[in-house]
Each structure stands twice: as structure tokens, then as C-alpha cells.
């Protein structure tokens, strides 16, 4: 039944955007590490994400399992076609996760862990950029064997996407830190955000103009549909959000940058999804072709119906507990 598959598709889409936003700012904090020289400031930065990073990363585990269970064919094709970027992603996340575990336990080796924290975050972000870039372009299949031609993830466009991803996550991390810190450190992040936002704008425009010319993809429908009121609205709202972000940075309004950026991320994500539907492997396999059988989908929807609201409640509660500015003390067990 299409409604079952579509419902599960929404569940996955929701899980992924939760991951992008929550782990996005966590990764961003990692990317900002080399720019902050003072050890105490870096401790503060770590403290803003320490209580929540574990939960944030778990959304990715959840997304993976949800794709596996709901659309096994798509999982099989996508995961094996993106072999090396995904290995890079997990190795990056491993490094980062371990650094979290040890950064506040270590004493003499703390610098090693700080470097691992940055390197792991960077690897994970680059990998995600490569994955997104490749996915947008779609895959070419070998006409004889029917298998995906390997190493399609390595090209100029996906490398550009990786760079754009670094900018986007760093900005999100900076916005989060503006919200969570005070004084001179907060000022640093205002300055960083102020510069990075123009880079992001440039990247967005570049992707918007450049990509449809090299990609024979769904993105073209965007431009053939240019007159559609939905698209026009979409573009207007995106630019409004970015404008509000710039305004908030200029006026030093501390809560607004994060909210506007999250709005921008969600919009971009919806655009990304809408341009590929009904395909789950771009131009090749629709979600209806890739879906698991209905019995499996029903079983999982029951579980998700109970668990997702509960998880959202938990997550909100955890963020509530750790809301407000962080103090400079290290968090420990």
C-alpha cells in the first residue's frame, strides 16, 4: 500500500532532518575548534554539546535502521554505491565519539583528543557532503550487469558540496555557541558567523545556478517550474530567513541566528526531498519499488507511533534541562 510506504518515508525523512540539525551543530562545534585558541574557551565549547551529543548521533543510527527496514533495496544500493564516503563517515564519527569520551578524562593527552575531535568532525562532514553531492547527481548503472558503476562520489560537484557542507555546519555550530556562551567568546562567534554567512549564500547560489547545468536530474524540474508559486515562495522565504540571520548577527541578537538557520536547513532539505520524489535511488528506483512488504511496514509503524513522540518528549526535556548558558566548569561523571 502506498500510504504505508509513504508514512514510513516520512518517518525516515523526519529522522534524517532531526539528525542533520542536532548533529549538525555538534559537528559545527568540532569544526570551530581550531579557531578558538584558549583552552578554557574550548572546554566551554565542549560543555555545550557534551550532554547531548550521544543522543544526537543516535538519530543517525535510527535513520540507518529505518532505511534498512523500510526500503531494503534502496539501502543495499545506496550504501554499497557510497562505500568509501560512508566508511569515512563512520570512522570520523568513531574518532569524534571517542574524543568526547576521553577529552574530559584525559590530562596530558588532552591535545591529542582535541585534534581527534576536530579531525573526526571534519571527516564526518566531508563524507556527508560527498554523499549529498553524489545523491543529487544520481547514479549511473552499468547497462550490462545492472550494477552501480563504482566511485561516482568522486567528482567536482560532490567535492564542492563537501565544502558547502563544512560552511553550513560551521555556521550552525557558531549560531548554537552564540546562544550558549557569553562575553568575549560569544563575540568571537558573532564575528565568525558574520563572515561565514556570506560564504554560505555564495554556496547556495552557486549550487542553484551551476548544478542544473551539469546534472540531468530532477533539479531541472525546479527550473522548468520556475513560475510555480510554490517555488517562488520557497526562494523568497529562504532569502528572508538568511536576511533575518544577517540582521540578527549585525544587531547581536543571540537567539535568532540559530532559529533562522534551522529554518533555512529545513527548507533546503524539503527542497532536496521534493526534487527527488518519487525516487529513492535517484532516477532509478522509486520508493514503492524499494519498499519492504506491508506486514513489516505496519509492524514498524506501530513501534514508531509509540516511540517517536516519546523520543521527541525526551529530547525536548533533555534540552530543557541543559538549556541556558553553560558555566565554565567541566562536566563529569
Amino acid at each position: 500500500m502506498i500510504s504505508l510506504a509513504l508514512s514510513w518515508l516520512f518517518v525516515i525523512a523526519f529522522i534524517i532532518i532531526m539528525y542533520i540539525i542536532l548533529d549538525g551543530f555538534t559537528l559545527g562545534v568540532g569544526l570551530l575548534f581550531p579557531w578558538i585558541k584558549d583552552t578554557k574557551d574550548r572546554d566551554t565549547m565542549i560543555s555545550t554539546v557534551l550532554p547531548v551529543w550521544d543522543g544526537n548521533e543516535t538519530w543517525l543510527v535510527f535513520a540507518g535502521a529505518a532505511l534498512y527496514a523500510g526500503f531494503p533495496d534502496a539501502f543495499a544500493i545506496l550504501m554499497s554505491a557510497l562505500y568509501l564516503p560512508l566508511i569515512l563517515l563512520i570512522v570520523g564519527l568513531l574518532l569524534r565519539g571517542i574524543s568526547f569520551e576521553f577529552i574530559h578524562k584525559a590530562s596530558s593527552s588532552i591535545h591529542v583528543w582535541e585534534k581527534c575531535f576536530f579531525a573526526g568532525s571534519l571527516m564526518a562532514v566531508i563524507a556527508q557532503g560527498l554523499v549529498v553531492g553524489t545523491y543529487v547527481q544520481g547514479f549511473t548503472f552499468d547497462s550490462q550487469t545492472g550494477a552501480v558503476i563504482p566511485h561516482q562520489w568522486l567528482n567536482l560537484f560532490s567535492v564542492f558540496c563537501a565544502a558547502a557542507m563544512i560552511i553550513a555546519y560551521t555556521l550552525l555550530g557558531s549560531a548554537r555557541l552564540i546562544k550558549k556562551t557569553n562575553g568575549a567568546l560569544q563575540e568571537r562567534f558573532f564575528v565568525i558567523s558574520g563572515r561565514l554567512q556570506w560564504l554560505l549564500l555564495f554556496a547556495v547560489i552557486f549550487v542553484g545556478i551551476y548544478s542544473p547545468n551539469i546534472i540531468n536530474s530532477q533539479l531541472k524540474t525546479w527550473f522548468t517550474l520556475q513560475n510555480s508559486p510554490f517555488i517562488v515562495m520557497f526562494v523568497i522565504v529562504s532569502f528572508m530567513l538568511m536576511g533575518m540571520h544577517a540582521f540578527a548577527i549585525k544587531q547581536r541578537i543571540e537567539k535568532l541566528p540559530f532559529i533562522t538557520l534551522v529554518g533555512t536547513f529545513i527548507l533546503a532539505y524539503i527542497g532536496f526531498l521534493a526534487s527527488d520524489l518519487p525516487y529513492i535511488v535517484p532516477h532509478q528506483i522509486t520508493f514503492m519499488q524499494a519498499k519492504a512488504d506491508d506486514g513489516a511496514l505496519i509492524l514498524m509503524l506501530y513501534g514508531a507511533a509509540v516511540l517517536l513522540p516519546l523520543l521527541l518528549f525526551y529530547t525536548a526535556y533533555a534540552y530543557h534541562i541543559f538549556s541556558g548558558k553553560v558555566d565554565e566548569n567541566k562536566t563529569e561523571y
Binding site: A65, P72, A76, Y83, L95, P150, A292, G295
Partner: protein
């Protein structure tokens, strides 16, 4: 030799072997914490508080390792085992989803309270969190074991025209009759493994006259636990073993090193089985009718030999044969140890007996080795099948180049060695050397102890 299939199998075995250690240890530790925290709430004896605080630290570190190494397992199901996902994703997927959701439920809700919640929530709420984490880890393990049991004994499925398998009866799959003994065998293994770590560390302290009250309480609990657990474990293992023969007689043949079908087959104590020559190159010692009795509970039962199928239908016999022997041997060693230690404990001589304490220090790996060799027996014994009788491992592997797998594996290997091999043990060692907090600095929940913000940990 270095094909994509071989490398992928090796990588999966390697990452799995490392991963399984952490959830098993976590399950055991949190169950131990449930007992100790219960004892503390009941008696208000600060030694128990000292115990929970110390082992919670070890638990936190271990659980974190389990989470990060678990991500690798999940991703590999797609990157390396795409054929597997395609063919049986509809059946195993929901089990994995429920596993992730159970784990997620625990993690999002209660782990934070368990680890960070001292002095932030009340004692009873904290205990509730500890119990919930224990239940959550046990449920999570159940889902994974039910997925594995379906791979060993697929039931309640049907095959579609395009070759994919779908489930016909979810309840039957979730409550696969073969799953219960296997699940209990695994949980018992987790508890035993943890008990031996506790025994080892407590003995380490006792022999150096450190943290004596703390160590005595831990040691006593773990030694009694082992005495209760090990006979049950041997019994469950036997039940599981009989099931194996019913469902997968070839696995039994590999475990026993039997090439020819034989009535009242003996137990061969030691041999060097060779797949290429289809026989045992060397045999030493045999117990008449041993295999028949062990695997069927009948004196003269006929056991099917490996040669009843073509060589490419047989598992790597030597690996199954040796793993099985190591597991059983260590199980018997545990039983012997438990009897001696409990005898000394009953006579009140355990804490003074330097010899047994000295030996006890080195017992920590024993459970882990038994656990890993048990899994090797089960998983390699199933080969060449990924899903027994349905999907071959060779058809389950992804269509990726061996160079990609090699690069990926190298990366994973390096990171694993650094992370798990060096730093986990480094920090574990540091935590152990530092020991539990001194008893007079321990401040139970502030409202009970009337204490300050002191967290009760050594800095």
C-alpha cells in the same frame, strides 16, 4: 584469497568481535548495579554506595564504546552486505528497528540519569533509572538475538517471485522457539563475563590490601553469582547444543570433527581437521559415544558426517572445532574455579588465600574468550550460509571492489586499534588504579547524607 567476500567476512568478524564485548559487559555491569544499588537503598551501608559509584564509571565508559562501535555494525549491513539487505531486509529490518528503538529509549531517557543524575534526582528515581537501563539492555539484546536466531533457523517466511523473503508470522519470528535458549545463553554469558571482571579487579585490590571492604563485598557477590550461573549456563548450553543438532547437523559435525556418518560417535578431544583433505590430519584421545550423548542425549544415535555434503557446503571445520573446544574448556574451568572459590568462601578462608587471589586476578578475560569462541562456533558453523539453507554468504556480499574494502578495512582497523585496543584499556586501567573513592569522602545523595556538593569521586 583476498576476495571481496573474504575481506568482508573478516572485517565483519573483526568489528563484531570487538563490538560484542561492550554490550555484553554493559549488560552485566548494569545488572550488577541493580543489585548493588538495591542493597545500598536497603542497608544504607556506604560501601555499597562506593561500589555503585565506581562501577558506574566503568559502565559509562563501556556503554559509550558499545554505542560507537554499534554504528559500524549497522552501516556494514549495507556497505558490505547489500545482497543480504535486499533479500531478507523485510524480515530482519523490523527486528533491527525494534532493537535500535529499545536502545534509543534507554539511552535518551535513563542513561543520563544513571550516569549524571547523582544529587540531581532522588535516590528512588535514580534506582528506577538503573532498573530501566538494565531492562532496556536486556530487551535490546533480545531483538538482536531473535534476528540472529532467524538467520540460524529461519521460520515463518515466504519467498516472493523476485527472490526476496518476507515474514508470514511476526509473532512466530519474535518468539522463535530456538531463540529462547540462545538468548538466555547469551545473557548468562554476559553476566558470567562481567562477574569474572569483578572477581579479577577485586582480587587485584585484595592482594595489595587496597579498598578492602569494597573488594570483599564485590568479590563475595561475584563468586556466589558465578556459582549460581555456571551450572545453569552449562545446562542451557546443552539445550542449545541439542537444538543445533536438530536444525544444523553439519554444524554439530564441524564442532565434533566428524567427517563420516557414525552411530554412537565419539568425542574427539583434539584433532587438526582439514577441509582440503576432508579428514582429521591428527587425532588425539577420544571418548566413546561422547558426541552422540552430548548432542542427542542418546547413547547410540547416528551423527551425520561432514562428507554427506560437497566440500563447498561445509564450514571452515578447524575454526568451529577449536572454538567449540575452547568455549567448553573455559566453561569447565569456570565451574572448577567456582566450586573451589565458594568452598573457600564458605570456610571463610577466601580473602586470606593468597594463591587463589593471585590466580583470580587473571580471570578477567576468561568470560570474554568463552563468549567470542561461542559466537565463532555459532556463526562460522552456519557457513556457507548467511541465512541457513536460504541465502549463501557469497550471495549476501556487496558488489564492491576488493580495493575499496581493503582501504575501508585498513581505516577501520587503525581506528579500532587506537580506540579500543589502546585507549579503552588505558582508561580502564587508570580507573582501576585510582580505585573507588575513600569511604569517608563518599557523600550519598545529599538529602540522605546531609552532605555537600562533593560528588564522591576521586579527582
Amino acid at each position: 584469497m583476498l576476495t571481496t567476500l573474504f575481506l568482508s567476512r573478516f572485517q565483519f568478524a573483526f568489528t563484531m568481535a570487538i563490538h560484542i564485548i561492550f554490550p555484553a559487559f554493559s549488560i552485566g555491569l548494569v545488572s550488577f548495579l541493580v543489585f548493588m544499588e538495591g542493597a545500598w537503598l536497603k542497608t544504607k551501608n556506604p560501601v555499597y554506595y562506593q561500589i555503585i559509584r565506581f562501577w558506574t564509571k566503568v559502565f559509562a565508559l563501556t556503554f559509550g564504546m558499545g554505542v560507537v562501535s554499534g554504528i559500524v555494525m549497522e552501516f556494514q549491513l549495507g556497505t558490505n552486505w547489500a545482497g543480504f539487505a535486499k533479500q531478507v531486509g523485510s524480515v530482519l529490518g523490523p527486528l533491527f528497528i525494534y532493537e535500535v528503538m529499545s536502545a534509543f529509549f534507554v539511552e535518551a531517557g535513563f542513561i543520563g540519569i544513571l550516569i549524571f543524575g547523582w544529587n540531581k534526582v532522588g535516590a528512588k528515581l535514580h534506582y528506577l533509572a538503573t532498573i530501566m537501563v538494565a531492562i532496556g539492555t536486556l530487551i535490546s539484546a533480545y531483538w538482536i538475538l531473535s534476528a540472529n536466531s532467524w538467520m540460524q533457523h529461519p521460520i515463518a517466511y515466504t519467498q516472493l517471485a523476485d527472490g526476496k523473503y518476507i515474514a508470514t508470522d511476526w509473532l512466530a519470528i519474535m518468539f522463535n522457539p530456538y531463540n529462547l535458549p540462545r538468548y538466555l545463553h547469551m545473557v548468562m554469558a554476559a553476566w558470567l563475563t562481567t562477574s569474572f571482571v569483578i572477581i579479577s579487579i577485586s582480587s587485584y585490590y585484595l592482594i595489595r590490601s587496597l579498598h578492602i571492604e569494597f573488594a570483599k563485598k564485590c568479590l563475595r557477590f561475584a563468586i556466589i553469582a558465578v556459582m549460581i550461573l555456571i551450572p545453569i549456563q552449562i545446562f542451557i548450553g546443552d539445550v542449545a547444543g541439542v537444538n543445533v543438532y536438530k536444525e544444523q547437523p553439519l554444524k554439530t559435525a564441524a564442532m565434533e570433527g566428524l567427517w563420516e556418518t557414525e552411530k554412537g560417535a565419539p568425542t574427539i578431544l583434539f584433532a587438526i581437521p582439514s577441509n582440503t583433505q576432508q579428514k582429521n590430519l591428527f587425532e588425539f584421545g577420544s571418548i566413546p559415544h561422547g558426541s552422540a550423548i552430548l548432542n542427542t542425549h542418546q547413547y547410540n544415535a547416528e551423527l551425520i558426517g561432514l562428507k554427506t555434503v560437497a566440500p563447498d557446503e561445509q564450514p571452515e571445520v578447524w575454526l568451529v572445532f577449536f572454538s567449540f573446544r575452547i568455549m567448553v574448556g573455559l566453561g569447565l574451568l569456570m565451574l572448577g574455579y567456582a566450586i573451589i572459590a565458594n568452598f573457600l568462601l564458605a570456610k571463610n578462608k577466601l580473602y586470606e588465600n593468597k594463591k587463589i587471589l593471585f590466580l583470580s586476578q587473571f580471570m578477567a578475560p576468561i568470560g570474554f574468550i568463552a563468549l567470542l569462541t561461542g559466537w565463532i562456533t555459532a556463526e562460522v558453523g552456519r557457513q556457507p550460509w548467511a541465512i541457513y539453507g536460504l541465502v549463501r554468504t557469497a550471495d549476501a556480499v556487496s558488489n564492491v571492489s576488493k580495493h575499496d574494502v581493503m582501504i575501508g578495512f585498513t581505516l577501520i582497523f587503525i581506528v579500532y586499534v587506537i580506540i579500543f585496543g589502546i585507549f579503552y584499556f588505558y582508561f580502564l586501567d587508570k580507573t582501576i588504579k585510582k580505585g573507588p573513592a575513600d569511604i569517608d569522602s563518599v557523600q550519598p545523595f545529599s538529602f540522605l547524607g546531609g552532605g555537600s556538593e562533593e560528588t564522591g569521586d576521586k579527582k
